[in-house]
Amino acid sequence: MVSYKYSDKGTVIHRLNPWCKLAWIVGVCIFALLFDSPVYLLLLSLSTLPVILAAKMWKEWLSVMKFAFFLCLLIIVINALVSNQGSHILYQFPFAIPIAGAPRITLEGILWGVGNSLRLLAIISAFTVLMFAIHPDDLMLAMVKAKLPYKSVMVTSLSTKFVPALIDDAQRIADGKKSRGLELDKGGRIQRVKSYASIAIPLLSNSLDRAVQVAEAMESRAFGSGQKRTFYKELKISKVDITILSFVFSSIAFGIFLRCLGQGGYQYYPVVEAVSLTASEWAMLFVLLLLVNTMPILALLKRKVSLD
């Protein structure tokens, strides 16, 4: 079992300024949306791994990726069934649907699904860093610095804090119902959905009770006192952090530049393209991936330096 919440593992990645990590996540997402070539997307997904490893969060990452993988499978299957474009027909269904025409499975349809799955994997992989390697307080401070209203940030942070409590609540209520003779897992699908829906009402009233109690406790400790709030912790930004930030930004700029040169593009339809990169394209891609990975490299070096 992996708990889906931040835990301070004390690694160099956990110690980094949250802005570095946020910028890096944004960078990976930009690239994932910018490039279409499956080669680029595959290597981009893989290049998130050093950060995951350096943050010692592979267990959490793996459990999230299991879900992501399942999601990707779904995308591939649905796209293959729905999309009837593409010229390499692998299977032609023996019937036709009015307006939509005769459904068929094409090579292009499958490959499009695979390509876009890689895109999704890169983004999800980057977001695990947000979930598991940025301290919620740091994230909150960063959001407040970014001029988001404090109350909204606090509410968001609180709601994530109470998710585990909500899951426990649901489990207990389900146990209570079963103990009173309700067969939660029996009957047809509709019956089961109905049975589980009946958990929602006590869950909701418990949550409302909890909300009142939390509000009371916060009120008693002068929350929203009208004065401008101060912050006990502050985000420290070191020279290494600034260096990392500048590398991350330059990687984003470089990536956009490459895309403008026409690199990393790809066409699935109507006929799937051959994947071929020139030597200079390979070199440029390599430089880009290196830039993406300056964060873990410099963070590790930073520790070396600070130990001396």
Partner: protein, 604 residues
């Protein structure tokens, strides 16, 4: 200083006052214990002190509440935050930050303290409460007792003059409760902080308080020193749990014996009783016309093994320990079932359980429960108590080993199927209640078990009657008071008349009268040939009502035996009176006495 003048308060939409004409003055540095039945207005009174009433709750308030000269109705909760610190019942729902130190800083940040000042205050609060070692821990990983201490520290950082704690220990295990109360006592002693503590269990705190206030139906019905309040017969009738030691002292006194003062602690009791034993003539010797003491359970005649009043004492003093000095009725039942060849209702064979995260909760449990037994399952937090009983109705399935319930292996059936035979009452009644009316709650269980129509109607009526719930029949269960909710939860399980009833910590945070009522009912239930299994950390309850105690530690059964054997030898799990009895052994008091009633019996 706190002063309340003619305070009356109505919650909005209610025509019954929650507080009625309260007049109260509390001096600086006082330790006030606030007690009384649930729904008596204790929480409402607390919330008046920092302005949550009326600013947060609304409603109608008349009269005046002054805190340090400020009128609470004119100053907001936020302004009062630096004067009155509030600690609430549920440790989960009052912590808002991720780490302990940010939790402590939260209030100070809200009040815009400078960063350096916050750092200083956080440091001081950590030291004062003694939780420096927790400072970098995540709040959601702490135990209940630790959370509650963090909550205290987090309001302490605001330097309040008054600390108000609304049942801070009712969700905690005995160890956690002890830690929290120790802190509260120290804050009052050393820093002179005024403490207003709401508590049901008085035995632990009464010795430390300066004043006890009893609130009933929104009114103050008693207010005075702990000794005077607790020796006042009226108070004990209002449902306040009188600590066993005081019960004992009262009984001794009522027999015409002198006893110094009213002892509040085991130590005081030991000294006072030893003195009485040494000086007084054999007490109660001329009182044989009082065969049944008022404190004893009604209708249970305890056989008197010795004719001469002090014979019991003499006999055991001479080393004649083999003869049973006291034959309590429950003890007899326990030994009967052990010897009899009744078929066990529950049979646990080499049970192991590992949770998905790899934590092994149970390690080779062997246990039999027979009809008519009242078993208390005790142990520290995370010792496997709940994991064990969840196997009895199939909520958990064995990783290894078997649980056989009336010839059915729990592995081969569903929880719903087992619910015909086993009723399981959860700690929090809110987890049980989800129907629109009390009646529907009961019908829900019966419908699931296939009972409908007139037969169900009859069962529902009978059960409602039995639990005194007829008047609430068409009410929304969640709007009832705590004790009533607990009763509805219990009725919703017992309407199906299961062979085995399991209760997980049903008495936590429950007032004494309700506890006693519940236990009396359960005792009757098991006499109908059913088994009652009680998971509890309340030693006094186990000592008074169960007949067999199973002590768990780290997933193993450490001791399993008649309550006398188990509880009179346990260090942590021994009731107040037993600690007294142990100390009075040299006077011939048997060492296995557990309750005030038994002690009185032994002395007469």
């Amino acid at each position: 200083m706190i002063s309340m003048k003619n305070l009356t308060f109505y919650y909005s939409g209610s025509d019954k006052p929650a507080l009625r004409d309260i007049n109260l003055e509390i001096e600086d540095g006082e330790f006030v214990l606030l007690t009384g039945p649930s729904g008596g207005g204790k929480s409402s009174l607390c919330r008046c002190l920092n302005g949550l009433i009326p600013h947060f709750y609304g409603g109608k308030i008349t009269g005046r509440v002054g805190v340090n000269g400020l009128d609470v109705t004119k100053h907001s909760t936020k302004e009062l935050a630096t004067m009155v610190g509030m600690v609430f019942q549920d440790p989960e729902n009052q912590l808002v930050a991720v780490d302990v130190d940010s939790e402590l800083a939260f209030g100070l940040e809200n009040l815009a303290f400078a960063k350096e000042m916050i750092a200083r205050r956080v440091e001081e609060a950590l030291d004062t409460v003694g939780i420096v070692s927790l400072r970098h821990r995540a709040t959601n990983e702490l135990s209940g007792g630790e959370k509650q201490r963090v909550a205290i520290a987090s309001v302490l950082a605001l330097y309040p003059d008054i600390l108000v704690l609304d049942e801070p220990t009712s969700e905690l295990d005995p160890k956690g409760a002890e830690d929290v109360l120790n802190v509260v006592e120290r804050l009052n002693d050393e820093l002179g902080i005024t403490v207003i503590l709401v508590e049901h269990r008085l035995d632990r705190v009464v010795a430390h308080s300066d004043r006890v206030i009893v609130l009933e139906k929104g009114m103050i019905t008693a207010d005075g020193s702990p000794r005077s309040i607790l020796s006042d017969g009226r108070v004990s009738q209002s449902g306040v749990g009188i600590p066993p030691i005081i019960k004992l002292a009262q009984a001794v006194k009522s027999k015409g014996n002198l006893i110094d003062n009213t002892p509040l602690t085991v130590k005081e009791g030991r000294i006072a009783l030893a003195k009485t034993l040494r000086h007084s003539k054999p007490f109660a010797s001329r009182h044989s016309e009082h065969p049944s003491l008022s404190l004893r359970a009604e209708g249970v005649a305890i056989p008197r093994p010795f004719a001469s009043p002090f014979a019991a004492l003499r006999a055991s003093a001479q080393g004649d320990n083999k003869r049973p000095v006291i034959a309590s009725p429950s003890y007899v039942i326990a030994s009967e079932t052990k010897q009899s060849h009744l078929k066990p209702l529950i049979e646990v064979k080499n049970l192991w359980h590992a949770y998905p995260d790899g934590f092994v909760a149970l390690k080779g449990i062997n246990l039999k429960v027979c009809p008519g037994e009242f078993v208390a399952i005790m142990g520290r937090n995370a010792s496997g108590k709940t994991s064990l009983v969840k196997h009895f109705n199939g909520l958990l399935k064995p990783t290894k080993g078997d649980v056989i319930l009336d010839d059915i292996n729990t592995k081969e059936t569903t929880v719903a199927e087992l619910s015909r035979k086993v009723g399981y009452v959860f700690q929090n009644p809110n987890d049980h209640l989800f129907c629109d009316t009390v009646e529907e709650e009961l019908a829900f269980t019966l419908n699931n078990l296939g009972s409908k129509g007139e037969e169900a109607e009859l069962l529902i009526n009978r059960t409602l009657e039995r639990f005194g719930l007829m008047q609430y029949r068409y009410q929304y269960p969640r709007f009832l008071s705590g004790g009533e909710k607990q009763r509805v939860a219990l009725a919703s399980i017992l309407v199906a008349q299961p062979q085995v009833i399991i209760l997980d910590e049903p008495t936590r945070g429950m007032e004494y009268r309700l506890k006693a009522e519940l236990m009396k009912f359960l005792d009757q239930y098991r006499r109908e040939g059913r088994a009652v299994i009680l998971v509890t950390q309340d030693v006094e309850i186990a000592a008074e009502f169960s007949d067999r105690v199973v002590l768990l530690s780290e997933g193993k059964i450490v001791v399993d035996g008649p309550r006398k054997e188990v509880l009179s030898q346990a260090l942590l799990f021994s009731p107040q009176i037993n600690r007294l009895a142990q100390a009075l052994k040299s006077y011939g008091v048997p060492g296995d006495i557990l309750t005030a009633e038994e002690m009185i019996e032994a002395l007469t």
